[in-house]
Amino acid sequence: MSLPSLQSLVEPDRVHRSVYTDPAIFDLEMRNIWERTWVYCGHESQVPQVGDYHTLQIGRQPMVMVRQKDGSVRVLYNRCPHRGVQLCGNQRGNTGTGFVCSYHAWSFHLDGKVRAIPLKQGYEGTRLDMGHPDCSMKSAARVDSYRGFVFASLADEGPGLLEFLGDAKVAFDDMCDRSPLGEVEVVPVCHRVVQHSNWKFFMENQLDALHPSVTHQSTGVPARRVEQRVKADQGAAPLFFHYLSAFATSFDQWDSVQTVNFPRGHGILKAYMGLRPTDPDTVAYEALMKQAYGEQKAEEFLSRSIHHVLVYPYLSVQSPLQQLRCLRPLAADKTLSEIWHFRLKGAPEAIYRRSLWYFNLVNSPATMINADDLENWTKGQWGLQGSMAGDWVSFHRNHGGDEQRDGVLYSNKGTSEVVMRSQFKAWSEYMAPALAAAEA
């Protein structure tokens, strides 16, 4: 089967539906995007002790992130070099001083180097003996971390982690800088939710400011009603009502929220939730921040205008509330998201609890918000299966009105589809060599 050309899939203001539905294109995405670029593995605090591990998928490759004796974190292929059996069969745990295969007891040090093979004399005179590198577990080509967030790349060459992140590294700065100690630690609960849609629906939706007052109206409206009643009765309402009622605002309000679109498809939806009330907990926390960083720096850290940051093509970081969602695509029409929450080291418990409300109400598997997002994306995936009503997905909104400064695209309107246009520009850059080769 021959692949379509890039030109037939992506135009500046629209894309062909098959980029969401075609398994062959999904396969190319895995090979040319996920299995090449820097992919988020986890936070160092997920594996605090020697031998602690966490398994994950990079593209189609099963991997394991593991804490070493020397304190470093490595990312290895979760595969026994003997017969290919996965060495860690659980999501997380501690593997002691090494890995042991459950099939034939090949064992490996934590860095993946082979430790022992039963009846190893059986390999004498064969192409494979204990000294052969193929007897050891293979490592990810490159592993690096930024402020405790661990990434791996399965390609030997390419931009370094910081170059890949570019300005989107503010996701991790914004999260950590809000701690008086400049660090976060993971809350050891990972919610996992499967969506029956292509991963792009999620990435586009995260910076799509036109959808909330439509999609989330059913939650925003009752939340506003209860919030106003509590305010009338008690003078003030807990901030968590606002997390939900903020979705019930007007199209005009959403149009005033700017998006910032970086190279490589990364982007930011600027803040709109107003997370700086003047209750005693917030006042005490802000005093701690000023003590730690001085007036000016603390103000800079606390007033960064971010709702969330996208690291394209798989991460949505809600840095002011210390949570992130990481996509692990499973098929063209199936995507797993891993949802994590972090604690600001050195910040008062009340500040953690305040952000926990958002985690519970918006990001838990009983979310009152994403329930309707996932419904949209499922119906989107089904809608794009058919061809006779049209092949194109439209991103025309405000096309031609984007403002470009130093390679960064700023939306002239909050609801501009510049977000999707910018993501597909990056997608085309990743996919161009593969699609050109397929064409030839």
């Binding site: 002691g96 430790r115 022992a116 039963p118 996992r192 059913s218 509590v230 838990s364 598997p365 329930a371």
Partner: protein
């Protein structure tokens, strides 16, 4: 010729014996994690002596609660809770506090009102598709009971139909009940969903 060789080979052999020494993976890596017996996990409730009327009363409350959910009578369901009542589904069974650790549900009466408002809203898009649940509650064990309060443990199974897909949830309830007037009300309903840390295919829209 080969037939003769095979016959000869099949005529000899050893018998493998179980021996008292380290075997398999143990002989290769005795320090590997997973040594030792795996501990028992989970909770075994301890019932107290109750009258048949008390048992009946409390079971009827649990059955009524399940029926309200399946009938989508959300308002009547929330009214089974005390005014300070809480519905809590922790993310893991070890959790002991509904305010300080991630939960799947952590809702007081006001947040229940928000969720109810969503479920009833004409533009709750994900409620447009056919969606029904079927609860079964059983194994009801009253762990303590007095004039004003009771602690009740039970198990539930819930089948959910959404569009053409069926999902299956199960777990245990822990109801902390208070007596107001002549009826029991729920002060805290803890729901330990067995599937809580499994990947969710889609999300859960309503209380389980």
């Amino acid at each position: 010729m080969s037939e003769i060789n095979v016959k000869k080979a099949l005529g000899q052999g050893v018998v493998i014996e179980a021996i008292e020494s380290m075997t398999g993976a143990e002989s290769i890596a005795p320090d590997h994690m997973g040594r030792g017996a795996r501990p028992a996990t989970g909770y075994v409730p301890q019932g107290v002596a109750v009258t048949p009327a008390q048992q009946h009363d409390i079971e009827q409350l649990l059955y009524r609660q399940a029926a309200m959910l399946d009938a989508k009578r959300w308002l009547e369901w929330t009214e089974l809770f005390a005014t300070d009542g809480v519905y809590w589904m922790p993310a893991t069974p070890e959790q002991t506090d509904w305010m300080s650790q991630p939960s799947i549900f952590a809702e007081d009466r006001l947040l229940m009102e928000v969720r109810m408002g969503r479920l009833q809203h004409p533009n709750a898009w994900s409620q447009a598709a056919q969606w029904h649940t079927n609860h079964l509650v059983g194994n009801v064990v009253i762990e303590s009971i007095g004039d004003a309060q009771a602690e009740v443990w039970s198990r539930f199974q819930m089948m959910e139909l959404r569009r053409d897909s069926v999902r299956h949830f199960g777990g245990s309830y822990r109801h902390s009940l208070v007596r107001t007037g002549d009826a029991w009300r729920i002060r805290l309903q803890r729901v330990d969903l067995m599937n809580a840390q499994a990947a969710f295919d889609y999300v859960i829209q309503a209380w389980v």
